[in-house]
């Protein structure tokens, strides 16, 4: 009995030390692959990216790049958006230099550029005429520029549009113009709404990138904004109240039944199943509604994002490639970034993977490729139209102190946006008053804005 107990203890001890050794050795391996790049002709590029379809396509095509550039290996680390943001921020902020190329959103670029965390790409891209930096859509270039310097190049970009099921609308006798107002859309939604089909689907899931992506654009077209141009929070204004009340009323009267669970994917499913007639969301959704396996393929109509006081109300978002200043392989990284955002890469995706999978919203020339025009006939023209007409420098009625639509490019915004989204979601669910939610949100926003007053 005693001996068997001892054997067990010994076994446990041995197992523990074996585990510890295993942990150490795996740690060593990963640092090797990280730092081994600089020496000799062989270069390993570590790339952190988000798990979107377009990024996964890039991973599939990386062998083409490695073939064309012998000695270079590209190591992909694909992550969920939230994980990516935390991992890349921690790495870049601490200057650890683990990544040579990072995928960042339009929200981060100006902030990180200002912090000096990113390599300024302007001189290299301007001097390369074959890259044709002016071909990148101007609003997308604007959101990735800080102080006149381009710190990141778009891999793909999107705006928001109104998508509607033509069959359901015509059954209810409703027509929509190419540039509807929110009031028209709300009225149409009310007419189409029935027991098993909701008139409209809008995001209600709390989160700065969920509920507040469309809601901020609604607020901006109703004349409100998060801050004025002097960083005073303006959340407790009548415009905000009007916009948020409008959003809730529309959801109550003709929206999906369970708004707090609904965001992009849920609305996409509802539209595909014919359970919702209209949807104002990211333009990239159109390519999914028109995909071959979609039941509503060819039945959808597209219009500009509804407006109230402004001319345009589409948002602007792009996923971009940037090079952290801490990289040890700047030249190789630059070469790869140029390749992945070039005109040739877009054609490569079209030929190897399929023309409807081409990363949209980054370059004007994409919309002139005949094959793409044909594959994306239903939504390409309106996407280009919206993406080149939005104004990220002043999306709302009044001037603002930052460049960007649907977000405020200050570090505190994701926290403020998230907490406000929870407050507004409580109001949408009928657990609190709009005044209460906006008053609390104003306090949060003001605390963040105070740090940026100069």
């Amino acid at each position: 009995m005693l001996s068997s107990k001892r054997a067990l203890t010994f076994g446990a001890g041995a197992l523990a030390s074996a585990l510890a050794l295993a942990a150490c050795s795996s740690g060593n391996v990963s640092t090797d692959s990280g730092s081994g790049g600089a020496a000799g002709g062989k270069v390993t590029l570590n790339l952190a990216t988000v798990n979107n379809g377009q990024m996964k396509d890039m991973e599939k095509l990386k062998t083409e790049y490695e073939k064309a550039n012998p000695g270079t290996t590209v190591n992909f680390q694909v992550m969920e958006e939230g994980d990516l943001r935390a991992a890349v921020t921690a790495d870049v902020a601490s200057g650890a230099g683990q990544y040579d190329v990072v995928t960042i959103g339009a929200y981060e670029t100006p902030q990180w550029g200002a912090n000096g965390w990113l390599v300024d790409l302007t001189p290299d891209l301007k001097s390369d005429s074959s890259y044709d930096v002016d071909d990148i859509l101007p609003p997308v270039r604007d959101v990735n520029t800080y102080d006149g310097k381009l710190f990141a190049v778009p891999f793909y970009g999107e705006s928001s549009i109104l998508m509607y099921n033509k069959d359901l609308l015509s059954k209810a006798g409703v027509t929509l113009s190419e540039n509807p107002t929110w009031q028209q859309v709300a009225d149409a939604a009310k007419k189409v709404n029935s027991a098993d089909t909701s008139g409209i689907c809008m995001r209600g899931k709390p989160g700065w990138g969920d509920l507040f992506a469309p809601l901020t654009t609604v607020v901006q077209t109703f004349g409100g904004n998060w801050y004025d141009d002097k960083w005073n929070a303006t959340v407790n204004t009548p415009e905000w109240k009007q916009a948020v009340t409008f959003y809730k009323t529309m959801l109550d009267q003709s929206g999906e039944k369970d708004p707090v669970s609904y965001s992009f994917n849920e609305c996409l499913t509802a539209l595909k199943e014919g359970k919702a007639a209209m949807w104002a969301d990211a333009s990239v959704a159109a390519s999914m509604l028109e995909a071959d396996d979609s039941p509503v393929k060819g039945k959808m109509g597209y219009a500009h994002m509804p407006v109230e006081k402004t001319k345009q109300s589409g948002w602007l978002w792009s996923w971009n490639l940037a090079i952290p200043s801490s990289t040890k392989n700047k030249d190789a990284a630059l070469k790869f970034v140029k390749w992945a955002t070039s005109k040739d890469y877009i054609k490569l995706v079209g030929q190897k993977i399929g023309w409807s999978n081409v990363p949209p919203g980054s370059r004007t020339s994409t919309y002139e490729i005949p094959e793409y025009k044909e594959a994306a006939a239903a939504y390409a023209p309106i996407t280009l139209d919206v993406m080149s007409s939005v104004n990220p420098k002043q999306p709302g009625v009044n001037p603002q102190g930052w460049v960007g639509i649907q977000y405020v490019s200050i570090p505190e915004f994701q926290d403020v946006g998230n907490q406000c989204a929870q407050l507004v979601a409580d109001y949408i669910a009928g657990r609190g008053s709009v005044d209460d939610a906006l008053a609390k949100c104003q306090t949060l926003a003001q605390a963040a804005g105070d740090k940026h007053k100069s």
């Binding site: 005693l2 001892r6 203890t9 010994f10 446990a12 001890g13 041995a14 523990a16 030390s17 585990l19 510890a20 939230g82 935390a86 921020t89 921690a90 902020a93 601490s94 902030q111 912090n115 209600g204 899931k205 709390p206 989160g207 999906e256 039944k257 369970d258 708004p259 707090v260 669970s261 499913t269 509802a270 199943e273 359970k275 570090p411 505190e412 994701q414 926290d415 998230n418 929870q422 979601a425 409580d426 949408i428 669910a429 009928g430 657990r431």
Partner: protein, 310 residues
Amino acid sequence: MSVRELDAVEAKVATEPRRVNKKELWSARGLLLPAVIFLILLTQVPFVVTIVYSSLKWNLLYPNDRGFTGFDNYKSALTSGDLWPSIVATVLITAFSVILSVLIGMLFAILLDRDFRGRAIARTLMITPFLVMPAAASLIWKYSMFDTNIGILNWLSRALHLPVVSWSTEHPMLSVVIVLTWQFTPFMMLILLAGLQGQDKGILEAAQVDGAGTWRTFTWITLPHLRMYIEIGVLLGAVIILQVFDPIAILTKGTGGTKTLAYLLYERAFIGLDVGQAAAYGVVTVILTIIVATVALRTLFKVFMAGGSR
């Protein structure tokens, strides 16, 4: 066997204390050392690091603005007004889920304690929810059960001509509690089933001979016997559910009074990216958990003991 008889049993050491070889003792300790070091590295060092972090001003978004701030993080954690609602949410969700899963688990355990054909299969099927990953379980409930368009619950209520319920919007806490109860009922059932099967059948027969009905046998014999098992189930269940995260992140995102301490901590750390403040919340959570574990659970079990010895 009376209690006194049990007390009289004395365990004797195999070798006399004086004769234990000092060398042998040290070699035995030496063999244990790797395990002890491993344990310390894994549990104690991270905790000390957390305490150090909690005294730092460290927001990942402001990398150049780092330094020692003393108790500022604790001050802001205690005064921000987030902590108390979060404690309430944690306590309510844990309490409801544990109580419901013990009750339902007890019912299933009693049903499974009888002989019938296919009992093994039934038992395996009953355990499955506990084996499903928490995130997967939450997703199953979100889409196949609660969803207003394609969910089974709403399909049922439509079929019965009842109004459609939007679970996460209208009843956020109930949705979370339902998912947790579904997950933890099998856990409680297993523990209680072990207790039931360890019961001396002779005593039950004696009770029957004495003319006790099913209910009396259950309340006066089975339940006191199960006391220890219920205690273990409640303790383990409470410890696991206290730190629950997945159903909240997937179903409600912390709205409607479901922002538990674990979710609050996640928000501070991964959305606020404020390492110092998140660490302070973490330390406060640990302290609160220790207080709850020592004070509340002990009083709770005293009630059970009083019930058992009546």
